[in-house]
Amino acid sequence: MVPITYYLLLAAALFCMGMFGVLVRTNALVVFMCVELMLNAVNLTFLAFARMHGDGIGHVSAFFVIAVAAAEAAIGLAIVIAVFRSRGSVNVDDIRTMKH
């Protein structure tokens, strides 16, 4: 049997990579993909803990996370399209309207 700790370490690594991408990349689409990576890392922890406790609730949570991720992707991409239409760019450096 593989220790659950390995799975959790993998999830942590995946999460931190996703976070790194979110914080560093400039392309809004790639930022989104990195968010998906982070969500997947969370899913992995859920499933690992479900296996650890032999309890199905973690699976239900993962199911909900997938559904929310789908909704988030739909809205997020729509926003990207809208932003691109008005500014001609998906670079987060160019989108700095959240001030004064």
Partner: protein, 740 residues
């Protein structure tokens, strides 16, 4: 005959069934006030009249039921309720009560929303709702030309609700709610015509003066709460045995009902006298707490004096009486209901309610009696020279309240309460009569410019005459008997080591009787008899509508028949007879008598007035009235055109200016307070609060915000990076906590 007695002894609604509905008596007028106040403008005049009057009428019917229930003795078993502070067999007879549960609690302090109707509050319920209903009916006609009718009736209903709360409360804090409520309603109604600044100021004056009294009332309540806890700490089994209780029961009562319930205070009063033994007596020092070092008796005297100041504010006694004459700025029905019949008697009610505590302190009682006597005399003297019919009646109210205070101060609580009831009837009748006179004469209030109205306003004249005779004290009207009952008690009761008070107060009382007779006769004669004054506003007065005369007739009738209460008809337990009302109130006042007997603070006299007493009182009253009749019917009409002696002019001017009391207050109190207020305004308000605190805060906030604005780059990734750093910080902190 037995059938009739049985009918009156069986309440139509059994007490235990009726008790939970006691709250409705308050709720109905409150609902009326809400409907009239919120929807009145849309409802129209007739509907507002209907709502307001029927709310009070409903409250009256419920009060009647409650009153009936307190006398219920169906099947030979007297209505009674358990006393939470006493032993199981210790019940309160002739009372119904309902506790609606905790109102608020903090630590071991607790106040319940409990209502109690016994014979004292029962009779007051009838007076408030009964007279209140008549005055509502009267107002429907009196206020027929006023645009603010809905406001008026909303306030009036609100007042009745507050007054009912005051009377039915079973604890001091709830009573204080009613106490403040009536003060607010009174303020609103005095300043009802607020566009007239003088009237608005009169309202403010009443409110501020009342606040001074209310402050003292609150401090008194706090002292009582501290005393109760000290008593509970120090008392031993013998003390509780004397009060008919036990420590466990008393503490259970405290935790269930809180320390300010009247029944609980009564138990403490029963345990305090020296005669009953035990660890606690009046001379025992309090051991711990903020009052440590003072004796129970000393604290009780201080408390009662504070309550005296509170009652003086509400009931217009020295030194706080100045607001009542100015309160006549309000509509006349308001003067009749609030400033004559009900609210101003709240102080008397308070002392009757706390009679068992009051008799512990002869000093406080003597102070009350003397304050009452001096107020009464001063007001009567001022009333001599007032020409405004409402002002005369106002000073007469102050004077009559002084008489009630004399009674309370000398321990004749039942007579004071009886005078309260009879005064409510005849003074309401007088005020309403005055209102009717004003209504029929183009709002003329100067009695010099009236006259000869007896032909034109027959009903008003007849009822005014009856109630004038009642207040003057002519046999066989109620005022004579109630006033004489007070004076008789005052004369024969003796305070411990303060025997001289009885004689002094009684002598003052006789002078007051003569003065009352004089000024009331003067008002009556100048207004109704003689020829019509050439300065009258309207050529012919007109009689008022039935809405106004019917209440007058009923009240005049009541001011005659309430005399029955003073007749010695009931057998006394020790032989002889006692007045009906004394017997009627004995369930309420018995603890006070027991305390007085044990503490030996007041020697209560049980004799009934004899023929000689009646004769003296009657002669005094008659002489006052006769002097007035001689002066105003014979002497002054003959003196017209002749110069008035300088001495008489000076006396008259002094009295007319109310002995310059207002000016005195202005000089020694209001000016310094205004000066301090001015300093506070300039330094504290304008400089510290406005400039430093308010504008300073805004200035600092603006500068800080301007600096912080630079951090707001609009770069979402930067914000995310800060979030990430925070998460990292939290994680590191958690890890370090786990590792260490």
């Amino acid at each position: 005959m037995d059938g009739i007695v049985e009918f009156f002894r069986t309440a139509p609604i059994p007490p235990e069934v009726f008790a939970p509905s006691l709250g409705l008596i308050i709720l109905l007028p409150l609902l009326g006030a809400f409907v009239c106040g919120v929807f009145g403008k849309w409802l129209g005049r007739a509907n507002v009249h209907l709502v307001a009057c029927s709310a009070i009428a409903g409250a009256f019917v419920l009060s009647l039921m409650a009153f009936w229930a307190t006398s219920d003795a169906a099947g030979g078993r007297v209505v009674s309720m358990p006393n939470a502070f006493g032993l199981d067999r210790d019940v309160v007879r002739y009372a119904i009560a309902h506790d609606y549960g905790t109102w608020f609690a903090a630590g071991d302090f607790r106040v319940n929303f409990g209502l109690l109707v016994d014979h004292l509050s029962g009779i007051l319920l009838l007076v408030i709702t009964g007279v209140g209903f008549l005055i509502h009916l009267y107002s429907t006609s009196y206020m027929e030309h006023d645009d603010g009718y809905w406001r008026f009736f909303a306030y009036l209903n609100l007042f009745v609700a507050a007054m009912l709360t005051l009377v039915m409360a079973d604890n001091l804090v709830l009573l204080f709610v009613g106490w403040e409520g009536v003060g607010m309603a009174s303020y609103l109604l005095i300043g009802f015509w607020y566009t007239d600044s003088a009237k608005a100021w009169a309202g403010r004056k009443a409110f501020v003066t009342n606040r001074i009294g209310d402050f003292a009332f609150l401090i008194g309540t706090f002292l009582l709460i501290l005393t109760v806890s000290a008593f509970n700490r120090q008392a031993d089994a013998r003390d509780y045995a004397a009060a008919g209780s036990a420590k466990a029961r008393y503490e259970q009562g405290l935790s269930e009902k809180g320390p300010v319930t009247f029944k609980g205070l009564e138990k403490m009063a029963l345990a305090l006298p020296e005669g009953v033994g035990g660890a606690v007596s009046l001379s025992t020092p309090i051991e711990a707490g903020p009052l440590s070092g003072y004796t129970f008796g000393g604290v009780m005297t201080a408390t009662m004096l504070l309550f005296l100041l509170g009652a003086a504010g509400k009931s217009a006694q020295l030194p706080l009486y100045v607001w009542l004459p100015d309160a006549m700025a309000g509509p006349t029905p308001v003067s009749a209901l609030i400033h004559a019949a009900t609210m101003v008697t709240a102080g008397v009610y308070l002392f009757c309610r706390m009679s068992s505590l009051l008799v512990l302190s002869p000093t406080a009682m003597a102070t009350i009696a003397i304050v009452g006597a001096l107020t009464s005399l001063l007001a009567a003297l001022i009333a001599f020279a007032q020409d405004d019919i409402k002002k005369v009646l106002a000073y007469s109210t102050v004077s009559q309240l002084g008489i009630m205070f004399m009674g309370v101060g000398m321990g004749v609580f039942w007579a004071a309460a009886l005078h309260l009831v009879t005064h409510a009837c005849f003074k309401a009748c007088l005020f309403l009569g005055a209102g009717s006179v004003m209504h029929g004469n183009g709002d003329e209030t100067d009695i010099k410019k009236l006259g000869g109205l007896w032909k034109e306003m027959k009903w008003t004249h007849a009822t005014f005459l009856v109630s004038t005779l009642a207040i003057t004290g002519i046999i066989p009207l109620s005022g004579f008997f109630s006033k004489d009952a007070v004076f008789h008690g005052v004369h024969h009761n003796h305070l411990h080591e303060l025997h001289w008070v009885s004689g002094l107060v009684y002598a003052l009382g006789l002078v007051i009787t003569a003065c009352t007779a004089f000024y009331m006769s003067r008002v009556y004669l100048l207004t109704f008899t003689g020829r019509r004054s050439p300065e009258a506003r309207v050529a012919h007065a007109h009689e008022s509508a039935w809405h106004m005369t019917l209440p007058l007739v009923i009240l005049a009738f009541l001011s005659v028949v309430t005399l029955v209460y003073a007749l010695p008809l009931m057998p006394r337990s020790g032989g002889g007879f006692q007045p009906l009302f004394e017997n009627f109130l004995s369930p309420v006042l018995r603890p006070a008598e027991a305390v007085a007997r044990a503490a030996k603070t007041v020697v209560l006299d049980n004799s009934t007035p004899g023929f000689v007493d009646y004769l003296i009182a009657w002669m005094v009253a008659l002489s006052g009235g006769a002097t007035a009749a001689f002066l105003y019917l014979k002497f002054f009409p003959a003196q017209v055109g002749k110069p008035v002696p300088a001495f008489a002019r000076a006396v008259r001017r002094t009295a007319q200016n109310k002995f310059y009391v207002d000016e005195l207050y202005e000089f020694i109190l209001i000016r310094p307070v205004k000066f301090v207020a001015f300093i506070l305004f300039r330094v504290v308000d304008a400089l510290v609060i406005d400039t430093v605190l308010v504008r300073g805060t805004a200035y600092v906030t603006e500068k800080v915000g301007f600096g912080l604005r630079r951090l707001q780059t609009g770069d979402a990734q930067a914000y995310a990076a800060i979030m990430a750093l925070a998460i990292l910080g939290g994680a590191v902190y958690a890890l370090l906590q786990v590792l260490s």
